[in-house]
């Protein structure tokens, strides 16, 4: 057991800290539309150009090839600096990219990975369907092989920012006769091909601006070479993709919430007076959250420690669930601290936006029920 980072790690940390301090974009990140895309891609490009993108990605595809500890350090410094999250790059950096790194062929890697890191290529997800939500494996979007092409027909839904994306990680049924988990393929879909139509879906945080899209594929054609990891092998690939999300990506959230809780404490002390807060019901909940966040961070360190020992394990789902729980508590507490102002949703203050937004985050990351099934079955070995 050891709390110390190596001298090299420490040096990396200081470089990251210095660079972030000098380079994080000024101004508030727009929540919507092309402005948001411009902001996110520019910020990603800045990181890439300065050599900070893809900490743990292989060097031959534009990454830095560093270990999980460095990734952790980067996230810690990123959060400490108050650097904005570039959500639009999330799927590329945390789902599609790592999947191609693990399962793609050399051509796919060369072609698709670097544009993710450089911010040139925005990816979205095409997994859920109107009738396949938590039961993902029941998906029915078909892809028929026609020569060296796949011809795709069907519909995907809940594709965040699909209208702002270039590429899509898409799950399609390539063998309708196989058992449901065995006839699915994971494909790289170009959002510019003919035969794709998008229906915007507005969300409760901003009822007049699209967030999701529904995708309609009408005999849309992509090269057969865009299948990643082998035909009909997509279920396994997709599960590993979700695994990526369930792993390191959570670290960033954990750190972000820890900062948020400290902000909430500051705000609560200002509103109620710190001398009144000790045994106050809001004070007590804040203190509990502070302890929770300390523990979530320690869980992150535990996850990184296990990964370094070559034993990442299903336990990382515990950290993920903890962060989810904390998010629920933060959600409820944030508005209580704000008081009457909670009824306003001003563009220049993120608190109410954040409150409403967490409703989707919980759903998007797989419901807490599904998460608890996974913990019960994979971590604890309880029967299905």
């Amino acid at each position: 057991m050891d709390l110390h980072f190596s001298a090299e790690d420490q040096q990396f940390r200081e470089m990251a800290r210095d660079w972030l301090r000098d380079n994080i974009p000024a101004g508030r990140r727009p929540h919507h539309g092309e402005e948001m895309r411009t902001f996110d891609t520019a910020w990603q490009k800045t990181q890439f150009d300065a050599g900070w993108a893809g900490i743990s990605w292989p060097t031959e595809y534009g990454g830095l090839g560093l270990d999980l500890t460095r990734q952790l350090i980067w996230y810690e410094e990123y959060a400490r600096a108050g650097a904005p999250d570039n959500h639009l790059c999330f799927v590329g950096l945390n789902h599609a990219g790592p999947t191609i790194v693990s399962h793609g062929d050399e051509h796919q890697k060369r072609k698709y990975l670097k544009p993710v890191l450089s911010g040139e290529s925005i990816w979205c997800q095409g997994f859920s369907e109107p009738n396949s939500g938590s039961d993902l494996a029941s998906l029915s979007t078909r892809a028929e092989i026609d020569g060296d092409e796949l011809v795709i027909t069907g519909s995907k839904i809940w594709t965040s920012h699909g209208h702002l994306s270039d590429m899509q990680e898409l799950l399609v049924r390539t063998d309708p006769d196989a058992p449901k988990h065995k006839g699915i393929s994971w494909v790289i879909f170009d959002m510019k091909v003919a035969g794709l139509e998008l229906r915007p879906i507005n969300i409760m945080t901003a009822p007049n601006l699209p967030h999701f899209v529904q995708c309609f594929y009408d005999e849309a054609r992509i090269p057969l070479a865009n299948v990643v990891g082998g035909l009909n092998n997509g279920w396994k690939i997709a599960m590993s993709t979700l695994g990526f999300e369930r792993g390191t990506a959570q670290i960033k959230d954990q750190i972000r919430y820890a900062h948020l809780v400290e902000e909430m404490i500051t705000r609560a002390k200002k509103r109620f007076g710190s001398e009144n807060l000790h045994t106050d019901e809001i004070g007590s909940r804040l203190a509990q959250l502070r302890a929770d966040m300390a523990a979530a961070r320690a869980m992150t360190y535990m996850t990184v420690s296990r990964a370094k020992a070559g034993n990442p394990g299903a336990e990382s789902s515990l950290m993920r669930a903890m962060v989810g729980q904390v998010q629920q508590k933060v959600r409820r507490l944030a508005l209580d601290i704000i008081g009457p102002e909670a009824l306003e949703n001003p563009d220049e203050d993120d608190w109410v936006y954040f409150y409403l937004r967490t409703f989707s985050t919980t759903i998007a990351a797989g419901t807490s029920q599904i998460q608890r099934n996974i913990i019960g079955e994979r971590v604890l070995g309880l029967p299905k």
Partner: protein, 343 residues
């Protein structure tokens, strides 16, 4: 002792419920713009049928019934998310009647006066017969002639133009217009002291009735969806996690509804424990509304989070009900300070 509506009350309910389903379906919000609503078109209709003056004596143009009937109709208002402007009318009419202003009362009951609702932004607020002052949120005040303002000291109607520094703000609940404003010390057009009528208690009661409507409607929405939405080859309502979530919603909803009806009768009789019961009702019903609205979104999955699902409207309105006349934190503190009821 009977908490169920009698046949006359049931008839009022049935009439109103039919009317609102026709004139004010939840889907009406889809056809509206970014902020606001057109519910003021309903006021003359509701007034005409007596729904705005149920608790007003017939000598002032009301129906001469009690808080019990008011609570029943406010639950329906909550079901359909009627504009909170309706609180201004019901409570404003009561102020006018108690203040002896027959003309104003009849104008309100006919739906021809618009009354906005003020909600305190910060304490302290000054409230007396001679001067009211403070910082306020104003709901549905853009076309209002008068503003309703009340707290534990008393209730006032104030002419709208006495509010200054009025500034529209982007509301969380975009169906309602919301302004920030200051009220410099102003003499109210009408003032009813708390020692003369427990108007503030009644306001809390009506907000809680509205919240029970939110709790009940979101529960039904969730249960209906859980019955038809299938995953893994069966309705999601057959999974224990979803089933138990629905059961929790039903428990909260039944608790809120029962306490609301009980406290309505206590308020109608002006019993000593009316504050105790009405505050308990607001705590129970706002908690139920907030939690059921959130669970409803969750049970609907990603669809629940969209603007086209109506689920989010109920959540946002539940927050408005929480703030009106004191939020959960405030109500809990008040409730704890009250003595144990004798009965």
């Amino acid at each position: 002792m009977n908490l169920l509506p009698d046949s006359q009350q049931q008839q009022i309910l049935d009439t109103l419920s039919g009317l609102l389903r026709e004139k004010a379906p939840i889907d009406r919000f889809r056809e509206h713009g970014e902020v606001g609503n057109e519910d003021d078109r309903l006021w003359p209709i509701l007034g005409d049928l007596g729904f705005l003056g149920l608790g007003i004596s017939d000598s002032f143009g009301g129906v001469g019934l009690s808080a019990a009937e008011e609570v029943l109709v406010y639950r329906e208002f909550g079901n359909q998310l009627l504009s909170v402007g309706v609180f201004g009318l019901t409570l404003g009419a009561r102020i006018a009647a108690l203040g002896g202003d027959d003309t104003m009362c009849r104008q309100i009951l006919s739906g021809s006066l618009i009354i906005g609702v003020a909600s305190s932004l910060h304490t302290p607020v000054q409230m007396s017969e001679t001067a009211c002052a403070g910082a306020f949120h104003l709901f549905e005040a853009s076309k209002a002639d008068l503003i309703l303002l009340m707290n534990e000291q008393g209730a006032a109607l104030i002419t709208a133009d006495q509010f200054v520094e009025r500034k529209s703000v982007k509301p969380m609940d975009a169906i309602l217009t919301l302004e920030r404003s200051q009220l410099p010390a102003s003499r109210p057009a009408l003032w009813i002291d708390a020692s003369d009528d427990a108007l503030h208690t009644r306001a809390i009661l009506l907000a809680s009735a509205y919240a029970t409507g939110i709790a009940a409607t979101t529960q039904s929405m969730a249960v209906e969806y859980a019955k038809i939405r299938e995953q893994f080859g069966k309705p999601i309502g057959s999974f224990q996690a979803v089933k138990h979530l629905c059961a929790e919603m039903a428990i909260r909803s039944e608790a809120a509804q029962s306490q609301c009806l009980f406290s309505a009768l206590v308020v109608a009789e002006d019993r000593d424990d009316k504050d105790f019961q009405a505050i308990s009702s607001k705590i129970t019903s706002v908690d139920a509304a907030l939690q059921n609205a959130a669970s409803n979104i969750q049970i609907h999955g990603a669809f629940g989070f969209t603007a086209e699902a109506n689920a989010h409207h109920f959540l946002k309105r539940a927050h408005v009900m929480d703030q009106l006349w004191g939020d959960l934190r405030h109500q809990r503190a008040r409730l704890l300070s009250l003595p144990t009821p004798a009965t």
